[in-house]
């Protein structure tokens, strides 16, 4: 088991190094850039040359990359070109907001998706099943930004159930400990802040959860249908076991393996979905940071770190998924 983990971590390191080189070269070949953004279009060539030299962009790209990697290995991602703050600090502020949103979205997607998929399979070919197929098709096809604005319009403008944007109402006093507002409220016993944070989370999380939810319903349904035909389910029935035990121990445990895989792969969709969702709800997380860093003059240091972070999250989640197989299915356990 340990060997598997070590091997996967080495693979992860190789992936990240290759990716960092790719991003580095790619970003610097995009039209526009920080020089134009900082100095404007009508800057004199002398001033431009000065800034290019100051930022080190006059050196060969290999040298730039080597210097970047050297600093990264010591944990220094440089400073944001836009604000001058250290990149780690800029990302550290936005990170908890996105993770909180993504976690709640995933809890909704799994919490609703697995039971719905199970029920659809159990009602195979009947009304509930057909509804689930139609519903999930809609859920997968509807664009996130459209759904986001639709929900926002209905639930914040027409009926005022939820706040339209932001993570907290103005005037709610919360003490930041971790940056996860729901958790902070619980830690500091400011439960009104927790409630308010949750209230703000519902619409964006629902928007972000739509696609993973639809995918999880479909995969669970298909997987449960497969398992229902297995001989061991018939054996469990022949033992006279209770529904609850057959469902949990014999059906779901076997059916969840493909679902867990999909949950890992959906992390990627979740990260890209967060960019759109955060824009709609003015969320102020990594998604907002990415769009701002691109449109606000190609903030190279921030973008590099952000994309690497996204890749890291994706790979780590999928590593955890692979490791969780071993707990679900003894046949993949490595000795």
């Amino acid at each position: 088991m340990l060997r598997v983990i070590v091997r996967r971590l080495l693979q992860l390191a190789v992936t990240l190094i290759a990716l960092s080189a790719l991003i580095f070269v790619w970003l610097r070949n995009l039209p526009g850039g920080p020089i134009e953004a900082l100095l404007g279009e009508r800057a004199t060539p002398e001033r431009r040359a000065l800034l290019v030299k100051a930022l080190g962009y006059d050196q060969p790209i290999l040298v730039q990359y080597a210097k970047f990697m050297q600093r990264v290995l010591t944990g220094d991602f440089g400073n944001s070109i836009r604000t001058g703050d250290p990149v780690a600090e800029v990302i550290g502020r936005a990170f908890p907001a996105t993770i909180e949103l993504a976690l709640v979205a995933m809890i909704i997607a799994i919490g609703l998706g697995v039971p719905l998929g199970y029920l659809a399979a159990r009602h195979h070919g009947r009304l509930l099943d057909n509804l689930s197929i139609a519903g999930t098709l809609l859920g997968i096809s509807i664009p996130i930004f459209f759904l986001g604005y639709l929900l926002k319009d209905v639930f914040t403008q027409n009926i005022h159930w939820f706040p339209p944007s932001g993570r907290l109402s103005t005037g709610v006093d919360n003490t930041e400990v971790t940056g996860f507002f729901v958790l902070d409220g619980l830690l500091t016993r400011e439960f009104d802040a927790t409630a308010d944070a949750l209230w703000h989370l519902i619409l964006p999380a629902l928007t972000l959860a739509t696609i993973p939810l639809a995918v999880i319903v479909r995969i669970t349904r298909a997987s449960v249908l497969d398992v229902l035909n297995e001989d061991y389910v018939r054996t469990a029935e022949a033992k006279g076991l209770r529904h609850r035990v057959i469902r949990g121990r014999h059906i779901l445990r076997n059916a969840l393996l493909p679902v867990v895989t999909i949950i890992g792969l959906q992390t990627g969709a979740l990260l890209s979905g967060a960019v759109l969702t955060e824009k709609v709800y003015n969320w102020g997380g990594l998604g907002t940071l990415i769009t701002d860093s691109i449109s606000g003059g190609r903030d190279y240091p921030v973008l590099q770190a952000l994309i690497l972070l996204a890749a890291l999250v994706f790979v780590v989640v999928n590593l955890l998924v692979d490791l969780s197989y071993a707990f679900i299915d003894p046949r993949v356990r490595v000795r």
Binding site: D231, R234, K239, G240, D329
Partner: protein, 328 residues
Amino acid sequence: MSLLDVRDLSVVFQRRGERPFTAVDKVSFSVEPGQTVGLVGESGCGKSVTSLAIMGLLPQRGNKVTGEVLFEGANLLELRPDDMRDRRGRDIGMIFQDPLSSLNPVIPIGVQVAEVLERHQGMDRRKALREARQLLDAVGIPDPERRLKEYPHQISGGMRQRALIAIALACKPRLLIADEPTTALDVTIQAQILTLLKQLVDETGTALIMITHDLGVVAGLCDTVNVLYGGKVVERAARHELFARPRHPYTHGLLNSVPRLDSVRGERLHAIRGSVADNIPWTEGCAFAPRCNYVVDACLEGAPPLEPTATGGDLRCNNPVPVEVTVP
């Protein structure tokens, strides 16, 4: 009173837009306490469907089950699903054909045995596991303590079937249904499993319904044999009677097609011509008629009724094999 009395059991599969298919057609037989009864026939003759109908394990939709399945006088077909659930595993145990796919791959063997004890005997997990250890020991699994924690893929095919037998017999049911329990095993293991079954049935006094296509299994185990063809019982007889004087041409063909060690070298094996798929589509005639060597005109017009024979069995045939032919 018989332990199990199956009366006119019929199972009709009906899918929307398809012609209904009668898999089991008015099958009747009974099982006395402690008796071993064989249901014999080739694939598709309805023997497995019969056993699933008795257990109430047929899919809830797409089929119609009629007739009576009286277990100690109570009609199992009329029980509420929850009451039937209480009886399965407690009053009637069942073993299936493929031991690997019949065990849950992600649950340790011990838990799979223990859970049936927890369900029906109200034991807690610890007590049930201790009992499971003894059960595994009783069905001849070596080192049961270690096997409790192992998973199905870690033990051999023979041991898996032994574990399934332990599960089926855990609550000391009065009836055990074994659906082709040795088909998926290799020959030496087959013999071991059959010996084990015979020994356990003798020890516990459990009645056994043995479902098989293998007449060798019947010869070693069964008191009474029901031969099924096309969803109907075509011949029923005591074991020695059936082997000595098979009267139905189908039974006769089955027995003749068993390879014999004392046959002349180079002699061709006997086969029953055609296949089950040759079932005639109408219900009036005898389903075996197209494959039968003894077919007469009457066979195509009306299905003969199941009638008692002089030797105490039952026979459904217009033109049975003459006794002098059947005596070897």
